[in-house]
């Protein structure tokens, strides 16, 4: 087999393998309890609202079943899993809940977005809170709490960071894990993750690629040895 043919064959085999892997992998739906997973309670809380006594904090739940909630101390806020919570700070002296209540009493809850967007007293944060409703069966957690920390409130910016995740296990014990990266929730130490069929791809693909690389290198060495052997024979 010449070099071009070998390259072409290697390509075909590799792409066929990848195509089969991707097509065979199960697709995950967001709204179905996946086999091997269980439901988990999730909420978030703000740890230091008391450090900002001049402000009222409001959570606007957007996207699905629009709603709002005024934060009281460090209470844990539960919400519908498809909601996208957005946190606002409003000067206590300027906060008026009556319009919010009247919108909620009306049929059109989507007016909340418009109202909050137009009210210059609402100072928004860009912290992204991701709900979690399902965890793997082997995860001993029964409740997950994200704890947020207010860093600062400027004229038009409310800076909030995710500080830690508190896992409550089924035996009643808790564990706190600090956020290292804001968009990646730290995992509980007691979690044993059995790899699902789609997660296996993350190892199957590198393994397959490594095998092909080794075959190429071995074949090259074998060819080189053969050529050198032929040369030696010729010179003798």
């Amino acid at each position: 087999m010449n070099s071009k043919k070998a390259t072409f064959t290697a390509f075909c085999v590799l792409f066929l393998f990848l195509a089969v892997l991707f097509l065979a992998a199960p697709k995950v739906s967001a709204d179905v309890l996946i086999p091997g997973y269980k439901g988990v309670e999730y909420c978030f809380q703000i740890e230091n609202t008391n450090d900002f006594p001049d402000y009222t904090f409001v959570v606007h739940y957007t996207f699905a079943m629009e709603n709002y909630q005024v934060v009281r101390g460090n209470e844990c806020m539960h919400f519908y899993k498809f909601n996208k919570p957005k946190i606002y700070a409003v000067k206590k002296s300027l906060f008026n809940e009556v319009p919010l209540i009247s919108i909620m009493n009306s049929d059109n809850h989507s007016k909340l977005t418009e109202y909050i967007a137009n009210d210059k007293n609402f100072i928004s944060s860009d912290v992204e809170i991701e709900s979690i409703s399902q965890i793997v069966d082997t995860d001993p957690s029964k409740k997950i709490v994200d704890e947020l920390k207010i860093i600062s409130i400027e004229n038009d910016m409310l800076e909030i960071e995710k500080s830690k995740t508190i896992y409550t296990y089924t035996d009643g014990t808790t564990e706190e894990k600090t956020y290292v990266t804001q968009n990646v929730r730290p995992l509980p130490s007691r979690l044993i993750i059995p790899l699902s069929s789609y997660e296996i791809m993350y190892f199957a693909i590198p393994a397959a690629a490594l095998i092909v690389i080794i075959i190429i290198l071995v074949a090259r060495r074998f060819r080189k040895g053969k050529t050198e052997g032929a040369k030696n024979e010729h010179s003798v």
């Binding site: 991701e130 789609y198 997660e199 693909i205 690389i213 190429i216």
Partner: protein, 107 residues
């Protein structure tokens, strides 16, 4: 675990394409073979780095450095080039992909 499996084929394909174009620009020979090597090298490093980042160790720069070193070794072996050239190819490709990643993330 919030690994973007749905996006894996697309993200992997983008990475392979970008790294291939960078290598092609710097090597300028045997384009088909270079493409095969780009597919193979990225199929080794990208899925592993992504898995580790999302599920074990979310340290971008450290993982990017490990990918950079792994690619140097693989490039040296596959392309049979000098270490200096392998370092240059790996650095250029990973620099460009990281830059594109940052631009996309900041959009």
């Amino acid at each position: 675990m919030n690994i973007p499996f749905e996006q894996l084929p697309l993200l992997l394909l983008v990475t392979i394409t970008v790294e291939y174009l960078v290598w092609l620009l710097l090597v300028r020979k045997k384009p088909l073979k270079l493409l095969l090597y780009a597919v193979l090298v990225n199929c080794v490093t990208w899925p592993l780095a992504t898995f580790v980042y999302y599920s074990v160790f979310p340290q971008y720069f450290l993982l990017e450095t490990l990918v950079f070193i792994t690619e140097i070794v693989l490039l040296k072996l596959l392309l049979q080039i000098r270490m200096k050239k392998a370092v240059l190819l790996s650095f250029a490709a990973n620099f460009v992909t990281a830059l594109i990643g940052f631009v996309i993330a900041s959009l």
